[in-house]
């Protein structure tokens, strides 16, 4: 067990400090120390994307980031997607398209899909599938997820918000 280190970050817009051992993953720190259990542990080795977060605006797997690396960084998790109790359009679309079953992969898909739409508001199906290739789902078979993202992109373009 390594000595704990104090880490100061910004998480979903709030200043957050946590103390974690130097060898602890950011995923574990966010779940067990900050209480953000929307960050899911799937494989723990960067293959499944369930722990996806945005770190300084970059999509990453938080299981292969050390908690101590987050010092001074800005983190966004699925908990930050809804605003004032209103679901993000992607979240609503996942519900409307039944793009989830067990839900373990869902936060990671939402974060990865948001990263895609932030840089490309009009992705085609192939682009969506490539962008979500780092997220594994063992329930829905991906088609509903892809359709939910396509529908969100269309709606958001219409409404002119990102």
């Amino acid at each position: 067990m390594s000595k704990s280190t104090l880490v100061s970050t910004t998480v979903n817009g709030d200043a957050v400090e946590f103390a974690c051992p130097t060898d602890e993953s950011l995923m574990t720190a966010l779940r067990d120390r900050v209480g953000l259990t929307g960050v899911k542990e799937g494989c723990g080795t960067g293959d499944c994307g369930a722990c996806s977060i945005s770190l300084d605006g970059r999509l990453v797997c938080s299981c292969i980031v050390l908690g101590v690396e987050a010092e001074g960084r800005t983190i966004e998790t699925v908990e930050g997607l809804s605003q004032n109790g209103v679901l993000h359009p992607l979240q609503q679309s996942f519900i409307d398209h039944a793009a989830l079953q067990c839900g373990i992969c869902t936060p990671g898909f939402l974060i990865a899909a948001k990263a895609l739409l932030d840089r490309n508001p009009n992705p085609n199906e192939s682009e969506i599938r490539y962008a979500l290739a780092g997220n594994l789902c063992r329930c829905t078979g991906y088609d509903k997820i892809v359709r939910a993202v396509q529908a969100t992109a269309k709606d958001m373009r219409k409404k002119g918000r990102s």
């Binding site: 390594s2 280190t5 051992p21 130097t22 060898d23 993953s25 723990g44 080795t45 960067g46 293959d47 994307g49 996806s52 770190l55 970059r58 999509l59 990453v60 797997c61 299981c63 292969i64 980031v65 050390l66 101590v68 690396e69 990865a112 990263a115 895609l116 490539y130 962008a131 290739a133 780092g134 997220n135």
Partner: protein, 286 residues
């Protein structure tokens, strides 16, 4: 586990050199943290280089590009100048892993992990890339092909680290390309990878570099393949010679992704395709 964030590459080298236990460098962490999780490594010291000034920057000058050791694959893909000059290098780097991995993975990480199937390595070698290696006492610049000496093994001494990768200025009427074959379209490891960089003069190939990956213990420079296409406009006969030279250079393993026979054959097929892409990028007409 001690975690250090040195302010210079030289300081990082000193920390790595001084440590008596297991010391590891951390940039993107996409290999190191997986090994940590699986218990393959038990570090006493991790040296995170990302706080070093300029190590996360791509600098371009009249001589070419200097890519800091912590620059991620995603950042390479967003750099218009680099993509224009060395599209093969950027496409090779961007093939590694998912978007999540691209957010962290680095060129020196791909190189020093020393997998025979590393995607960016053949492309870097074909492009004539060099590694800027910093040690506790001195700095040296080495051709990328001198870094990997076998699966999982590099020529770096204890305390040495790669501070940056440099790419020369792309010459007029030159082009490069990287292709790999994988059983799946994404999130897979190359069965064969091939990088070709070439320069034209009056529509004819004047110079070329052909580098294979995943078909030998390290990436291999295939001089005979380059020789086969120099002086040509990539007519069918030349392409057959190129394919034969690439297949002949293979020394692959059998594994679940591909048999020896398959890899040898695919190396030739991909070589033809990559050569055509590089040729067209250089402005050549087929």
């Amino acid at each position: 586990m001690r975690y250090e964030t040195p302010a210079s590459a030289k300081e990082a080298a000193g920390l790595l050199k001084k440590e008596k236990g297991a010391a590891f460098l951390l940039a993107g962490g996409t290999d190191l943290l997986v090994k940590l999780k699986m218990g393959i490594v038990e570090p006493d010291l991790v040296v995170d280089i990302k706080r070093i000034p300029k190590i996360s920057e791509i600098q371009s000058s009249t001589k070419g590009f200097t890519i800091g050791a912590a620059v991620s694959g995603a950042e390479l893909g967003e750099h218009a100048g680099l993509k224009k000059a060395w599209p093969g290098v950027v496409e090779a780097a961007n093939l590694i892993g998912s978007d999540q991995i691209q957010g962290r993975a680095t060129l020196p990480g791909n190189l020093c992990n020393a997998s025979p199937a590393a995607d960016s390595v053949p492309a870097l070698i074909a492009a004539g890339a060099k590694a800027v290696v910093v040690g506790p006492l001195k700095k040296r610049t080495v051709a990328v092909e001198k870094i990997v000496i076998g699966p999982g093994k590099t020529s770096l001494a204890k305390g040495e680290l790669i501070e940056a990768i440099t790419l020369p200025k792309a010459e007029p009427r030159s082009g490069d390309a990287y292709l790999r074959f994988t059983p799946r379209t994404e999130m897979d490891i190359a069965v064969v990878g091939i990088a070709i960089s070439l320069k034209l003069e009056r529509g004819v190939i004047k110079k070329a570099r052909v580098v294979l990956g995943a078909v030998a213990p390290t990436a291999i420079v295939v001089a005979a393949a380059a020789k086969a296409i120099v002086g040509s406009k990539l007519d069918d006969k030349t392409l057959d010679k190129l394919a034969a030279a690439c297949s002949a250079a293979c020394n692959p393993i059998d594994d679940k992704r591909g048999t020896i026979e398959y890899r040898v054959r695919v190396a030739g097929v991909l070589a033809k395709r990559a050569a055509k892409i590089a040729f067209q990028r250089a402005g050549g007409s087929l």
